[in-house]
């Protein structure tokens, strides 16, 4: 391969190699017992994994992560389809882009900032509850009750990320041959029927992309639970990533890297097939 060609990829390759190094480093340290209690590192095989996996916090946080992702994927897809449907049937392109921007804008704001605002909105006296009480609905405990903490987190995530799903479904809808839709309209089909029978069945691609992205974004959510709980220690809001950070703050490094490696593996299982599908479909035509 010619020199001029190789130059193109050198920066990308170098930084990708650094990332690979980081991932491997994580894995290596996870096989040791390095922590505050063991400043001298020695290899212990899978022992760290066994001890970490058995802790309550591990299963708790992994469960939370999976719960968060599952909720976001399920609700994000459903709401995404609905919103995309609402947007699709608008006649004005301008209105469509305005409303689309409204549901996507949360992505333009830092999640840390979003968390701050929602922290206030969740205040049971002067937050959203003030309005709910005014309408006559009961005061919802949001972050002040352990059973509603996590659902509140899910709510904010849905607010932040549903826009992505809606975007992909909308893009998918707009790729469907318009003449088919027009024929259905002429046949008297209602908007719901068109959505249900024509648009959704042809949206398998959008479903795949939306699900993959929702899962990946939800899995890496950090600042939201971190700020909503004021730190990494609240186990009711602890996701896998937050738990890993907690282990780092208490200097249990090998356990932290063990959790980090587990997180990386779970994410890779989704990312790598997804990447290979992309490369086969879009790049190697």
């Amino acid at each position: 391969m010619k020199k001029g060609t190789i130059i193109l990829v050198i920066p990308t390759a170098i930084f990708s190699a650094v990332l690979l190094y980081l991932v491997i480093w994580n894995a290596v340290i996870s096989f040791t017992n390095w922590s505050l209690l063991n400043p001298k590192i020695s290899f212990v095989g899978l022992q760290t994994y066994f001890s970490v996996v058995r802790t309550f916090q591990f299963s708790n946080s992994i469960l939370h992560s999976l719960e968060l992702s599952a909720s976001l994927v399920a609700i994000g897809n459903i709401l995404g389809i609905l919103f995309a449907g609402l947007l699709y049937f608008l006649s004005s392109n301008k209105a469509r882009s305005v409303f689309l921007s409204i549901i996507i804008y949360p992505l333009a704001i830092s999640m840390a900032v979003n968390a701050l605002i929602w922290l206030w909105l969740f205040n049971i006296n002067i937050g959203i509850d003030w309005l709910l009480v005014r309408i006559g609905l009961p005061q919802f405990p949001w972050l002040s009750s352990t059973s509603t903490m996590f659902p509140s987190l899910i709510l904010v995530s849905i607010w932040a990320y549903t826009g992505i799903a809606a975007l992909f479904y909308l893009a998918g809808f707009m790729n469907i041959d318009k003449s088919v839709i027009e024929a259905a309209r002429l046949d008297g089909a209602s908007a719901f029927k068109i959505l249900y029978k024509l648009l959704i069945p042809n949206s398998f691609n959008s479903f795949i992309i939306a699900t993959a992205l929702l899962f990946l974004f939800s899995f890496r959510i950090f600042s939201l639970p971190y700020i909503l709980s004021g730190g990494p220690t609240n186990i009711f809001l602890q996701t896998a990533v937050v738990y890993m950070y907690y282990l780092f703050t208490v200097e249990f490094f090998s356990q932290a890297t063990a959790v980090a490696t587990i997180i990386t593996v779970i994410a890779s299982v989704i990312i790598i097939p997804y990447a290979l599908i992309i490369i086969r479909r879009w790049i190697r035509k």
Binding site: K2, T5, I7, L8, V9, P11, T12, F15, L19, Y21, L22, V23, W25, I29, L86, L87, F89, F99, I102, I103, Y105, L107, A108, I109, A112, V113, L116, W120, L121, N123, I126, G127, I128, W130, W159, I164, A171, N175, N205, I209, R220, F222, S223, G230, V241, Y245, F248, T261, T264, A267, S268, I271, I272, L276, I277, I278, I279, W282, I283, K285
Partner: protein, 283 residues
């Protein structure tokens, strides 16, 4: 159901969704203009009884340096990532029509790596990343933060630009090859100019992502002087005794730049999002 009723219901549904979605930004804007007393006592959702700029003034002084720090970090990071990533994307493009088995293996491996770098929960690389930055002696420096961000954003740029570069007609590249052009020159003179809209989308996407990045500046900066605005805002969290109207003003200041970019250049951001999902065509 009569069309007028249907249309009204349609718009009503959209209005409800819009209002729900806009509540947080409304709260952010409105409460920044309240006096501290009013923020503590009046509902978050009600508008201020009188406009007060004290919050903004205090916060602006405190956030001025973080804002500058963020600019110094984000601008080079995004331009470098988008450009170098574009080069990498063209490299993938050249691999896709090479004839050897080896090149398809290389492109699979490299592409999986850049996808991993784009989507991985980067918090998982916390420990080796800090260790690396410390050992390179660039903790608490602009270079350090930029370097760490580039690890994730150059591959992101490469992934996004792969979508945009793949729609360039193959015959143009072939004509250039027949004309005796090397790949680097093909990139500079043909591929890069022709993928400019995609480049701008990638650039906008990375600007917004890197500006809002919370975790990397969190762990790589220990001196208050070097803090970026995404982290500095965190010091205004609730917790008894801290100032409250400042929270909203701080949030607003931290978000002004990405929101402004989103409002004016939003379609590029959206195109970048769509490319992220693997479909650069027809947007």
């Amino acid at each position: 159901m009569r069309p007028v009723v249907k249309a009204s219901l349609h718009y009503l549904a959209l209005a409800i969704v819009s209002i729900l979605w806009l509540i947080p930004v409304y709260a952010m804007i409105v409460n920044g203009f309240k006096s501290n007393l009013e923020v503590l006592s009046s509902p978050v959702l009600s508008p201020p009884t009188s406009l007060s700029l004290t919050a903004y003034i205090t916060v602006f002084n405190a956030l001025a340096k973080p804002l500058v720090n963020s600019l110094i970090v984000v601008i080079p990071t995004s331009f470098i990532s988008a450009f170098l990533g574009a080069m990498g994307a063209y490299f993938f493009y050249t691999l896709s029509y090479s004839f050897s088995k080896l090149s398809s293996v290389i492109s699979d491996v490299l592409f999986s790596l850049i996808a991993l770098a784009t989507f991985i929960p980067y918090q998982a690389t916390l420990i080796p990343l800090t260790r690396l930055i410390v050992s390179m002696g660039i903790l608490d420096t602009y270079i350090g933060i930029i370097f760490a961000m580039l690890i994730f954003y150059i591959p992101t740029g490469a992934l996004l630009m792969s979508m945009f570069v793949s729609v360039i007609p193959r015959s143009l590249i072939e004509a250039a090859k027949v004309d005796g052009t090397g790949d680097l020159k093909i990139f500079m003179k043909i591929v890069f100019p022709l993928s400019m809209p995609g480049f701008i989308s990638t650039l906008i996407f990375i600007i917004i992502q890197s500006w809002n990045n919370f975790f990397i500046p969190l762990i790589l900066v220990t001196t208050p002087n070097m803090r970026l605005v995404s982290v500095a805002v965190q010091s205004y969290t609730g917790g008894y005794g801290t100032l409250y109207n400042d929270t909203f003003a701080a949030a607003m200041l931290a978000s002004v730049i990405p929101l402004a970019i989103f409002i004016f250049l939003g379609r590029y951001f959206i195109r970048g999002l769509i490319a992220l999902g693997g479909g650069g065509k027809g947007v």
